[in-house]
Subunit: 289 residues, 2 copies
């Protein structure tokens, strides 16, 4: 059976939602895309750019008659959005999302729908840039990127299959995971690095003569802090919505950092060396640039 959606409802037309819409169109996966967002100006821009074909005046209106609903809003908006969706869909209507924390998306769905619909397949594309907004969107954002789907206990097999195929068609590699495992992995590999980058820039920004200090920031620092240019609201929401997993890995990090600090304080050459050698090996073995 060919994967094709007659009417896609895109709730949230930013970098991720916009890029997915572009991908769906590019690969001929849908007939029309109707968007919804808080800013009419942004929606007009999205229509102008050809990312969406039209937009609704409410979530409810936007999802009416849709055979695929994509929720790409900030984490804090999920419960409200799901509540508005719940009135206009059937148990089987395909609903997916791109939220960065999955347990809290599933909690929001439970609250809004009263249960977990069979058509709901939560997902998370591991992609993005530090930019945001529909103007930053592009159709190849998901090329060779991983998308993690975290089906609920109620997700229908056919629904999971369709969402999986959709992501594969726009170029992504799809992996299935439990919501909690997703949240732990992302806390370690994405949320913690962002928290550290924000804290590092905050530290430097509060130093005496900070603008002079920033001037001498070289390659490593630039790379390191680029993610601190990400949308503060989005990252605040992620911190609030993946709190437990983030705090757990953050405390682990603080312990390792303290160990290194004490080794530097004690001028313990061997201890410092061991940490650095282990870290270099772990990175070189596991991360492909």
């Amino acid at each position: 059976m060919k994967l094709f959606f007659d009417r896609v409802a895109l709730i949230g037309v930013g970098l991720i939602g916009g890029s997915l819409a572009r991908g769906l169109k590019k690969h001929g996966l849908c007939n029309t895309i109707c968007g919804y967002g808080r800013s009419t100006q942004e929606l007009d821009k999205a229509v102008e750019l050809g990312v969406i074909d039209s937009y609704g005046s409410s979530v409810k209106e936007t999802v009416l008659g849709a055979d695929l609903i994509i929720v790409a809003v900030p984490m804090s908006a999920f419960e409200t959005v799901f509540s508005e969706i719940s009135g206009g869909v059937t148990e089987q209507t395909l609903i997916t999302d791109v939220g960065s924390a999955k347990a809290s998306v599933i909690d929001a769905a439970k609250k809004a729908f009263g249960h977990l619909p069979e058509g709901l397949v939560p997902g998370h594309p591991i992609a993005g840039t530090e930019k945001s907004g529909v103007e930053a969107s592009f159709d190849s954002l998901f090329d060779n990127r991983r998308v993690i789907l975290t089906p609920t206990e109620n997700s229908a097999e056919s629904a999971v299959d369709q969402v999986k195929q959709m992501w594969q068609k726009v170029g992504a590699e799809v992996v299935l995971m439990t919501p909690d495992h997703h949240d732990q992995v992302l806390a370690a590999t994405s949320h913690l690095p962002h928290v550290l980058a924000f804290s590092l820039v905050e530290t430097l920004g509060k130093m005496h003569e900070s603008s002079e200090i920033f001037r001498y920031a070289a390659g490593g620092f630039k790379d390191f802090t680029r993610i601190a240019s990400s949308d503060p609201t989005m990252w605040r929401d992620i911190c609030l919505n993946n709190k437990t997993a983030i705090l757990s890995v953050l405390k682990k990090f603080e312990r390792h950092l303290k160990t290194l600090e004490l080794a530097i304080e004690a001028q313990d050459e061997k201890a410092i060396n061991d940490i650095f050698v282990r870290a270099k090996m772990a990175r070189d073995e596991n991360v492909i640039d």
Copy 2:
């Protein structure tokens, strides 16, 4: 007066030393370059690559008759190298270095020479990659990069001028600073980020199923941890040789991180948001990608 050196002695023929040698040759700033290093194999390679013209069997032999001595060895080797140099030079022989921490280089010079020679002009190019070794060297490494010179109270004005001109000729922008100020600025913008990157990778490497976790590391994480691929020995030496400044900024960082942690724990939206907004503004205003 045209800047030209008849015989350059390069002690330490790695990424930085090799790149400077290539730059000197490319811009016609010297007649011959004689190198010295611990590994004959590396030195043979350096001759083969045309980075140096010959090499000596000791530091003492290598610097004999040199009108410019460049010390580009690991931080831990400075005192030994300076001691060997001290026997074969005059008060005015031009000596510079590329060490990442300046107060400890100056301390090493004091111990080795018994005083600070007029010809000694300590320096530090803010350049490099996570690679090391002469094979990774290239003549444009310093193009548009900043080089910080930290003259001592004894450095002759003409010596400072010559070292400054040398760096400018190979493409760098030269800035003068006191050694202590250099050490504080670099602790914040380079040494601390490296310490954090090593600690982050160490944290993830020690987690259960770490190889799976690394697999989901996306863009930000890759950038963040690239510097953890840097040479462990070099970074161990930097930690030992810029201990005070690194510990000072590391403790500041830990305090800021703890504040953010408590805000996440308390679900304090406003506090988290304020930190992220301030950090994003500080970075966007001060760091040019």
